[in-house]
């Protein structure tokens, strides 16, 4: 089985490496491959780079944090999407199915409305995502249902709509000259303002959540069977569902807090990863993380370089995601596998 997955992992890694290199090289200040190697080698060995200080600054301080953030957010959204698609036994599910993104969006616009500053906005976005999913889960437990999975999805739709109304209300009340543009910009998704502190607050929850999902990889395979079958195979589905939702929500909320709403990545990348390495979560989770990182790096590089102004990420991913999704729908039999 490992033999079969090897070409798939090679492709995913190639996408990540290409994404990393292009993200460092392209931009208003073009940088060559040798300059990147020089600066990184100097950084690692503790020596002095042979390039100008400007090149070093661009690589380490300007593009570096953004490149790492793009790779992390892409990996996070792809891993969360993979987990949710398995858990809900539905390949059309994305990480925001339980309201993590809409909760984070409301948190962020409230933060901007009260002029809380960058850190305050991110904390509120993070908290908003967690609270929204907790509310959805609470509804799922309190309402009796034969099909707990379907109930959760429907509760997610309902809470998502309510949170969307909340976002609309805050935007309506916001100062149209100072606050509204900031809200709009945040809701469209961007990595432009990423700095070193953001990276730490992004990395820790993403690493914790992804690790939790990775150690549960075999149980996640079984959880993708119908509920009663999974239980008959000895898997305590109710507590495991909480664990998987908590881990995936942690990962999603952290990335949404860092970069705003970037749709489609968590929906599309799991499909591509599944096509590359198959449906076994032992391989799918790492493959989705690698591919998601590379994918968002490529998208972010396009966002930075395609036009004279930066294109919001959420808009680019939608332009790429929609045709891809239509192709998915038309090609159900092959790509579902």
């Amino acid at each position: 089985m490992t033999r079969r997955a090897l070409p798939g992992f090679t492709i995913a890694l190639a996408v990540l490496v290409a994404g990393l290199l292009l993200a460092f090289m392209l931009g208003r200040y073009p940088i060559s491959l040798s300059e990147i190697i020089d600066v990184l080698a100097a950084k690692l060995t503790g020596g002095e780079p042979h390039v100008s200080a400007a090149v070093e600054t661009v690589i380490l301080n300007v593009r570096g944090p953004r490149v790492l953030a793009a790779a992390l957010v892409g990996a996070a959204l792809a891993v969360a999407g993979t987990a949710f698609q398995g858990l809900f036994r539905n390949p059309l599910v994305s990480p925001d199915i339980l309201g993590a993104s809409s909760g984070a969006a409301l948190g962020a616009v409230v933060g901007i409305y009260f002029s809380l500053g960058v850190l305050g906005v991110e904390c509120l976005a993070f908290a908003g995502g967690l609270v929204a999913v907790a509310a959805v889960y609470l509804i799922g437990t309190l309402v009796p249902a034969r099909d707990p999975i379907l109930l959760l999805v429907l509760a997610g739709v309902v809470i998502g709509a309510l949170l969307g109304a909340g976002v609309g209300l805050v935007k309506y009340l916001a100062d149209p000259y100072n606050q509204l543009p900031a809200m709009t910009f945040w809701l469209l998704g961007s990595l432009a303002s990423t700095n070193g502190t953001d990276l730490i607050s992004l990395f820790i929850p993403v690493a914790v959540g992804s690790l939790a999902l990775f150690v549960l990889r075999w149980r996640m395979n079984v959880m993708s069977l119908p509920e009663e079958e999974a239980r008959a195979l000895g898997v305590p589905t109710a507590p495991l569902r909480i664990a998987i939702i908590a881990a995936a929500t942690l990962v999603t909320s952290a990335s949404v807090a860092a970069s705003g709403i970037i749709g489609w990545v968590g929906l599309i990348v799991p499909h591509l990863a599944r096509a590359l390495v198959g449906p076994d979560f032992a391989r799918l989770v790492p493959a989705a993380a690698i591919l998601g990182g590379g994918y968002l790096l490529l998208i972010d590089t396009i966002a930075r370089t395609a036009a004279s102004i930066e294109i919001p990420l959420g808009i680019l991913t939608a332009f790429i995601g929609t045709p891809f999704f239509i192709w998915l729908l038309a090609d159900v039999q092959r790509t579902w596998s």
Binding site: L216, A232, L233
Partner: protein, 255 residues
Amino acid sequence: MTLEGRALAIGYRDRLVGEGLDVGLAEGEVLALLGPNGGGKTTLLKTLLGLLPPRAGEVRFGGRSLASRSIRERARLLAYVPQSHVATFAFPVETVVLMGRTAHGGLFSRPSAKDRDVAVWALERFGIAHLAERPYTMISGGERQLVLLARALAQEPRFIVLDEPTASLDFGNQGKVMREIRALATSGHGVLFTTHDPNQALRLADRAFLLRAGTRVTDGPVSTVLTQQNLEALYGAPVQVLSDSRNGHTAFLPG
């Protein structure tokens, strides 16, 4: 060891499906559960498997209440073969069978080399080892049913419970699956299955339990329970009997 339901009331939180049911199954024995659609067969199966809590009464296993055993412990004693279905994700057949080993490992464990050996043995036992690498979604309905049987066997349970194992299978595959079910009992498993075909019960089961509208019509050895009179009472429809005078075999025809 026996699996028994005592004075069971079965159903869901908002709906009682049946009550006053006493069912028992011993190792090495095949019990067929017959009855009209909506009569509570699947609900009874799920209650006996511990997937649905009894509304009253108790399911006991080896003299101990099933509810007092952990979900993992239950899975090592009781295997469930659902009606063959189309899976969401195209796991290879080998992985599907390996899922039967889940209850033998810890929460974070992956299948071990021993688990793989058991899976291969289970695949070989049903003559489907050549399918190991094929996606579960790309094999025929008959093959899928055999894969689910192999998965149940890989659980190394004492009892195997099957929900309409021959539904949606062609005539030849029905025979094959039924022979394998009989073989499971011969190798010491207790087997409980539901069916719409009294002839299958007659040929393969030791005992039959007739369930109508959530209550027991009758139960006992197939030769005494499966009669024209009982089947007509069970389904509320006329039944014909065919007898072969040479070997004494009987068969039932609806209508």
